[in-house]
Symmetry: C2
Subunit: 345 residues, 2 copies
């Protein structure tokens, strides 16, 4: 997506002013009110510039006698070239920090807290995915007898992520046998990911059929865990959409909330996000989802330790304060990264 039309100094300044004004008030902005802020030029001059900005597609007129509103492309130009990011105000920091003061040891609980914190900080819907690595490594495992045909596998993964799954017992085994198998497996398996484990069976299989059998099931479950990680998305702050005038239309609201509650629709979007750039902003239709054509996403990566990273960000109206939201998302991302990193120990 290129910006075909470069803008001269003055047009840039005017576009920037339009975005700022519209973001603040939510009302289409006219030449007169711009002339107050940009006292260098008269309203007529600004009017001419507005006309050309409309022609090249950066601004839109809701109707003939209305002011201008930035188009998706206009916001894009603003975000890429004009925006001055604002520092995160102390007040917002004071609001966010307490969330991370006392932390649970489980990664998921931390993420839930992060979602709440970010929803508050950015006044939008927050989205958080679990940290993922190429393959999650096992830290510890345990087997608990459920009944004659089933045992419960308890996997402690890196990041104190705990996963459980019922496994089938192909032969009889009581808890002492299971515990023995578990400690046997622990010796071999700790530190491996699904891929690493799949290279084990031959050597382990010697000992016992049951053991090999369980290992096969464990590997299968690990693979499922890997896959799940990509789709798990927490969210919070739907309430923050409601007081925005552009969502006074319930139709629109409904579409957006549906997308947020159907987590897997967002999963596709977020996994498509380019995580290597510091922060990614998708404006309006750029997301490719019709339901979100009036919404923007501001996403970033949080890093927990050397390799593990997850996505965190917000979903809000296209008319959001990008200059504020970006830094706030980054701020929370940094906190989460640190917190999750600590949980990884």
């Amino acid at each position: 997506m290129q910006h075909p039309v470069p803008l001269d100094q003055r047009k840039q300044q005017i576009l920037k002013a339009v975005v700022a004004d519209y973001t603040r008030t939510g009302v289409p902005v006219g030449s007169a009110s711009l002339a107050v802020h940009l006292a260098t030029w008269s309203s007529a001059t600004i009017r001419n510039e507005l006309a050309t900005l409309s022609e090249v597609g950066y601004l839109i007129q809701p109707h003939t006698s209305a002011g201008r509103v930035p188009s998706d492309l206009g916001y894009r130009y603003y975000v890429d070239f004009l925006m001055d990011e604002e520092d995160v105000p102390a007040a917002v920091r004071r609001q966010v920090d307490p969330f991370f003061a006392v932390l649970p040891s489980g990664v998921e609980d931390i993420l839930e807290i992060a979602a709440t914190a970010l929803a508050h900080a950015a006044d939008a819907v927050s989205l958080v995915t679990a940290p993922r690595a190429l393959g999650v490594r096992v830290k510890h495992l345990d087997l608990v007898k459920l009944n004659d045909t089933q045992a419960l596998l308890v996997l402690v993964l890196e990041g104190n992520l705990v996963r459980q799954q019922a496994l089938n017992l192909t032969g009889p085994a009581d808890q002492t046998v299971l515990s023995a198998i578990a400690s046997g497996l622990n010796a071999v398996v700790v530190g491996l990911n699904a891929a690493g484990m799949s290279r084990l069976p031959e050597s382990v299989g010697k000992h016992a059929v049951l053991e090999r059998d369980l290992l096969t099931q464990i590997i299968a479950f690990m693979t499922v865990c890997d896959a799940q990680q990509d789709t798990l998305i927490l969210h919070d702050g739907v309430r923050n959409l409601l007081h925005q005038p552009e969502f006074g239309d319930v139709e629109l609201l409904q579409q957006v909330i549906e997308v947020v509650e159907e987590e897997r629709m967002l999963a596709a979007l977020i996994s498509a996000a380019d995580l290597d750039h510091g922060i990614q902003i998708m404006i309006g239709r750029e997301s490719g989802m019709a339901e979100l054509s009036r919404c923007s996403l501001v996403l970033t990566t949080y890093r927990a330790g050397a390799e593990r990273r997850g996505t965190i960000g917000v979903l809000g109206s296209t008319r959001m304060a990008y200059a504020q939201v970006g830094p706030r998302v980054r701020y929370v991302a940094q906190r989460v990264g640190r917190a999750v990193g600590r949980a990884l120990s």
Copy 2:
């Protein structure tokens, strides 16, 4: 809460018809349209009866020249005396059953599925609490070394509820020591709840300071788990509120969503629910929360095994189809109970 005014046969029939009509259409219902269904009497007669029903508080007129709408009290009378519960249609069953066809082994995952299923079945916001007993019993525990000063406690509770928590190590201990302690504790602790465990320390304390120390921390954490269970509430289906005309007003919607997202406000309400009656219906202001004055709650208990029970239900407009919602909530409750019971093994 008594019903001071008993109604004669005809008034009952009319009230019932008003509720049925209003539930269906959402429009205040007038004497003329009632006279079609209740052909026994003319519209004038019905008009007289409507007037007295309004006087005693069962009906409300939005304005002078409008039809009647049931008041909270009117719904209450309907629900208590007039409602004929409808069977759960096969179509709805076919919609719900697949959710319970393939089940994860963890209770919380099951509950999440249940929340989604109920939201679909009842076309409202679903609410689900974790099953609680007087005290949750331990099934298995494990200790995983995190670093020199901390170990991760992994508790498997009844119902395959897995909880993890970092514990402080008062002395040095590597993983083999921790595993030994864990298996030692397992022998003593399995099947006990927090209360039962608090009677242990004297006898266990002999062996090692570290062991006693950990046990103390474990007991403390168990108590926390007990408390958390009461407040954990899952929800789904906020989207279902949006297509209801009474929530066209965004103000109202905002209040309701805020309550739903702030789970702890609901926790108080739900724990106050009288779970021993088959199904509990709270209509409008009966809930005591001003924000929910236009909403009703339909709650019931699901039983998993002999003693454990949780709450499941829906939050919707007071104008919901009580005759349909009640049975559907019970239907899902029964499925959840069975599923959770199975997970309890």
